[in-house]
């Protein structure tokens, strides 16, 4: 069995990817109740955080280094970045490896990374669309001043980091899923590393710098803060340009590491996969 090479550019196979995107979209529509409920869930977790901080601030203007509007913008930012960066179908990969379905996919003429990325793209686009809708509703209802960056360069650096973070998460998630080649505990490992560790350390519940210093230091050693926390810090213009550039470089570094790791694990795992008896 020829293992499809780990190429990334879709080049002449565009129509195939469009079909793939269409099929993914259809899947969502078939499980319509699931879809609605999933949107509901995202909205609820956003609301919880939003009100928590609203209540903490009370009448204060500033708390723990964040203006009220900044903190609330952070919460909104979490919701948005979750859909952009953390929306992913490579979650399915683990299950497909265990069930043996992967053999079918690998035999199709699509690069494996491109395959998953296309599905992710659909996921992210859907997510973004609905998130913007929901956020729009909340912002108009509550009428609080959303924080916008004052300098033009902030936007550029922000977008740059978000794009890097997007790919970083893609490969990170891929690596977690690839564990499925070697163990049956797909759901549990994904939950522990991909949900619990990741969301706390990425700053997807609360900004990392409200935690005690010793904990912050540990977290900054991991790749996770670059997914949500640092992009938002850049947006809120709370870190210097030098630090922002540093963040981009470090993120790019992590991206390289996980890209390489994903490639290695995939090739190793796929090689042994044939023997699994799919």
């Amino acid at each position: 069995m020829k293992i499809s090479s780990v190429s990334f550019l879709p080049a002449k196979t565009m129509p195939k990817y469009l079909t793939l995107a269409k099929i993914t979209l259809e899947e969502y529509l078939v499980y319509r109740l699931n879809f609605v409920l999933w949107r509901f869930r995202s909205f609820v977790s956003f609301l919880t955080l939003f009100f928590f901080w609203l209540a903490i601030y009370g009448n204060r203007g500033e708390f723990l280094g964040y203006q009220k509007s900044q903190m609330l913008t952070y919460v909104v930012g979490i919701a948005f970045l979750r859909s952009v960066i953390l929306g992913s179908r490579s979650v399915d990969l683990g299950g497909q490896i265990r069930s043996g379905e992967l053999t079918k996919i690998v035999l199709r003429p699509l690069g494996i990374f491109s395959f998953w990325f296309s599905r992710d793209l659909v996921d992210k686009l859907l997510n973004i669309f609905f998130t913007l809708l929901e956020l729009g509703i909340v912002l108009t209802v509550f009428k609080f001043p959303f924080w916008f960056p004052t300098k033009a360069e902030t936007y550029i650096i922000f977008i740059l980091l978000v794009i890097l973070a997007l790919f970083l998460y893609f490969f990170l998630s891929f690596v977690i899923s690839a564990i499925a080649f070697w163990t049956e505990e797909v759901w549990a490992t994904r939950w522990l590393f991909g949900v619990i560790f990741l969301e706390f350390f990425a700053g997807a519940f609360f900004p990392i710098d409200v935690l005690p210093i010793w904990l912050q230091k540990i977290i900054y050693l991991t790749p996770f803060p670059y997914l949500v926390f640092f992009p938002l810090k850049i947006w809120l213009e709370q870190i210097s340009r030098a630090m922002a550039i540093q963040a981009i470089l470090v993120c790019a570094g992590w991206l390289g590491v996980f890209w390489w790791l994903a490639k290695v694990l995939w090739q190793k795992g796929a090689k042994n996969y044939g023997a699994y008896g799919g």
Partner: protein, 329 residues
């Protein structure tokens, strides 16, 4: 006070199944308004069964036999009609009713996958409140009958399919049910296991006088086990009677099977009558009932025959023809 163990009057069970058109447009449409279609799984079926009978429900896939069984055991609520099993209304699933019946389905299991079968047995003992002595006695009898003494302490996941099926049977029979529903009991089993299964069922019926209803689409099951057969097709009861009657009633032809003493030109063979099967030296003709003697005489006259037999067509063929719509009386 009727004595029938099972009584079914004009049973109907219909399902609503939703349909979706293919493609993206179809998906969006179904998001807004779903289309439903009614499936008539069981459509006006009536019969009674007495204590100790071993009855087979046969029919093609999707005929409604499993649905009927599920209605009888109480899993499904009938759309219309009347069912009584052991004097109870099955769908109420009263505790007393449930303690006297058992359902075994070919590919479904109740054994705990990662534990030895014994663990499930002990659990069932508690669930059915089987007294210790009776439990030991029944367990030993079943173990002996099914020859599974050695595997009781091995994890279920490590057992072969045949061994697993045997343990499933034990788990289902520990409480000595009066009525046993078997749904496709030999499906997926190899030939040897199928025979063992059939022998066991026959023996169980003989020894404990349990009323057994089984569904199958394997003729082998039915031929071996059931004298009485109910044929269900497309939800309707097409035949209810003795197995031997089917041949008499429905077969419009017989088979002349013979052994040729020496080779004969194929054309000559074909001219005499319709050839059903030929691989030298065996030859089988399919002949209309009323022409059997005539053709047999012709064959004996014109061919070098070493041996000749006149046979009923195999029951599978008859039933297959029934299902292709040729022959409902």
């Amino acid at each position: 006070m009727n004595s029938s163990v099972v009584e079914v009057k004009r049973l109907k069970k219909f399902f609503q199944v939703h349909k979706k058109e293919p493609g993206l447009v179809g998906s969006i449409k179904s998001l807004v308004a779903r289309q439903y279609e009614e499936v008539r799984a069981v459509d006006d079926v009536s019969f009674t069964i007495e204590e100790g009978e071993l009855v087979g429900f046969i029919g093609p896939n999707g005929a409604g036999k499993t649905t009927t069984l599920k209605c009888l055991s109480g899993l499904l609520y009938p759309t219309a009609g009347f069912i009584s099993v052991l004097g109870f209304l099955p769908h109420q699933r009263k505790s007393e009713f449930l303690r006297q019946i058992s359902l075994v389905m070919g590919q479904k299991n109740q054994l705990w996958w990662d534990l030895p079968p014994l663990e499930t047995f002990q659990l069932n003992k508690e669930i059915y409140e089987i007294p210790e002595e009776k439990y030991k006695e029944t367990l030993n009898e079943l173990i002996t009958l099914l020859e599974v003494e050695d595997i009781l302490k091995i994890q279920v996941r490590k057992l072969s399919l045949g061994q697993r099926m045997k343990c499933e049977l034990i788990a289902a029979l520990l409480h000595s049910p009066k009525v046993l529903f078997l749904d496709e009991p030999t499906i997926g089993l190899d030939v040897v296991m199928q025979k063992k299964m059939r022998d066991f069922i026959k023996e169980y019926n003989r020894r404990y006088k349990a009323t057994i209803l089984l569904t199958s689409h394997y003729m082998g099951d039915v031929k071996e086990l059931c004298r009485r057969v109910l044929i269900i097709d497309k939800g309707k009861l097409v035949f209810d009677g003795q197995l031997s009657e089917i041949t008499q009633k429905y077969a419009d032809h017989k088979l002349i099977s013979l052994i040729l003493a020496k080779e004969v030109d194929q054309k000559i063979l074909n001219d005499l009558a319709k050839v059903k099967e030929f691989s030298y030296p065996k030859l089988v003709y399919q002949v209309k009932k009323d022409e059997v003697s005539k053709i047999a005489a012709k064959v004996l006259d014109q061919l070098p025959v070493a041996d000749l037999n006149i046979e009923e067509p195999p029951i599978e063929d008859i039933i297959r023809e029934l299902f292709t719509g040729k022959n409902y009386a």
